[in-house]
């Protein structure tokens, strides 16, 4: 995989989102990497609406085969979803299944005016008709099957992208 500076990409994402912001826009980060990124965007973009977070564990389409795994986090949507413009934030866009689960979950809180997707990296190989309106980087080549790309954050708040092989 090409070397990626996650902090530069995050900076770039701020610039991509800023021109389209409205006073009404709210951010929702998807656990876990998406929440770190959303916290950063929320701060850098000076968004006034409180930050939302969701864990899609209860909406995943592989529950039937894999069950619940890990420790699900509480979803927290501290604003009224009805009629709201929402930017859903995730670290990596891959098959699109996580985004699908997040969309379903958000609609259980109300009917938003619109939802856009912001991601740091698009690694391609979509399995659903989903695209990101804001994307800081698109990988030119597919990653090996079974590998996972995820954001991590150190104590100083600096980001890095890590490639893990299962």
């Amino acid at each position: 995989m090409e070397q990626l500076d996650a902090n530069l990409l995050a900076r770039h994402l701020v610039d991509l989102i800023r021109p389209t912001l409205t006073p009404d826009t709210a951010l929702v980060g998807i656990h876990t990497g998406g929440v770190w990124l959303a916290q950063y965007l929320h701060r850098e973009l000076g968004i006034t609406q409180p930050l939302g977070t969701i864990d899609v564990a209860f909406y995943r389409d592989d529950y039937g085969s894999r069950g619940l795994h890990g420790k699900p986090q509480r979803s927290d949507i501290p604003f009224d979803v009805e009629g709201r413009s929402i930017i859903l934030v995730d670290d990596v866009l891959y098959t699109g299944r996580t985004t699908r689960a997040a969309l379903n979950e958000l609609f259980d809180y109300g009917r938003p005016a619109r939802i856009d997707l912001a991601v740091l990296v698009d690694r391609g190989e979509r399995e659903l008709p989903i695209g990101a309106r804001y994307c800081a980087h698109t990988l030119s080549h597919p990653l090996p099957a079974g590998s996972s790309l995820a954001l991590s954050q150190d104590e100083a708040g600096l980001f890095s992208l890590r490639l893990l092989h299962e």
């Binding site: 864990d55 209860f58 069950g67 699900p72 509480r74 259980d108 809180y109 109300g110």
Partner: protein
């Protein structure tokens, strides 16, 4: 079963397959249930109080003994997980016509049951069903014990643990007193098992000698027969319901006398820690085991217990159905 030494509640991968008792349930599973329940509490605050986890699954509430509250909270939990819930009023159905428990179960399996929630007056009935499903290779069907005889009431024990953890955070520095009819109480057994597994250093029971099992000290608890001694310095008071039918035997003189000695009043509670919490599994007998001033007072966490009970049952059901 292939390996009889295996915990009958766990599958080969060590995941929860049935929930039958908290006795012998490993600490990591107990904590996993409590951790999983936490995010479920938030669902109650949503516009649409429903998650898709058990979509297409059929949950059968098999209550051979009446219990409106437990059945209702199981029903709400299953419905919030999008399951189809079928309530069987077994008291008025085929068992009265002579059908055996396992024949009833086989018939419901033929109706594509995915989970049984079982309440039965006989200790071990849910275990018998689980064993039968296992022996007949129906590993995808799960059993939840909703109270069996004097044996166990694991989801009540779990929701009590959830409530204690919610208010006290850490189990390892607590003193907990269980008060009342321990002898007949499946709730008390489940509570003692869970408190011990979760590392509570001191579990006390406070009751008259006639309402304690003879082997009570073997359960690792300190026994008290006096409320003020037993409640001194405790962080948590877990009340048990005094079943009215016990008054008819020779076990207790009268409910007034019981209230005088073992009823929880503000005066008796005053020797506990100032921030002590009071739990009760319901239904309460005001003026028998608990005074209204305590039941409605600032220490009582009895209604939050009910709310947490739904989340805990959602956690159990979603862990089972996903195993």
């Amino acid at each position: 079963m292939n390996n009889p030494a295996r915990n009958p509640q766990l599958n080969a991968d060590g995941e929860l397959q049935h929930l039958l008792t908290l006795d012998g349930l490993p600490k990591n599973i107990l904590n996993q249930i409590l951790d999983t329940a936490e995010p479920f509490t938030e669902v109650a605050e949503r516009e649409i109080k429903k998650l898709p986890l058990l979509r297409g699954k059929s949950v059968f509430n098999l209550f051979f003994e009446n219990s409106t509250r437990t059945r209702t909270t199981f029903e709400i939990a299953a419905k919030r997980l999008s399951a189809d819930v079928i309530n069987l009023n077994v008291a008025t159905s085929s068992t009265n016509k002579g059908e055996t428990l396992l024949d009833t179960v086989d018939n419901l399996c033929a109706m594509q049951a995915d989970m049984f929630v079982v309440r039965h007056a006989t200790s071990g009935a849910p275990y018998l069903i689980a064993q039968h499903l296992q022996a007949t290779g129906r590993h995808h069907i799960h059993v939840v014990n909703a109270g069996d005889g004097r044996h166990a009431h694991p989801t009540q024990g779990l929701l009590d643990m959830y409530t204690i953890r919610h208010y006290k955070r850490d189990f390892t520095n607590l003193t907990v007193a269980i008060v009342g009819d321990v002898l007949h109480s499946r709730v008390a057994r489940s509570e003692i098992a869970a408190l011990t597994t979760l590392g509570v250093p001191e579990v006390r029971v406070i009751a008259p000698k006639t309402l304690l099992p003879s082997d009570i000290e073997r359960m690792g608890v300190r026994v008290f027969h006096d409320m003020k001694e037993g409640l001194r310095g405790v962080d948590v008071v877990m009340m048990l319901r005094l079943q009215n039918e016990r008054m008819q035997g020779a076990l207790l003189p009268s409910s007034q006398e019981y209230y005088k000695i073992f009823g929880l009043t503000e005066e008796k509670l005053a020797v506990a820690k100032p921030d002590a919490i009071v739990l009760h599994p319901g239904p309460m007998n005001r003026g028998v085991e608990i005074d209204s001033a305590v039941a409605d007072g600032k220490s009582a966490v009895i209604l939050p217990q009910v709310t947490f009970g739904i989340a805990v049952r959602m956690a159990v059901m979603s862990m089972l159905a996903g195993s």
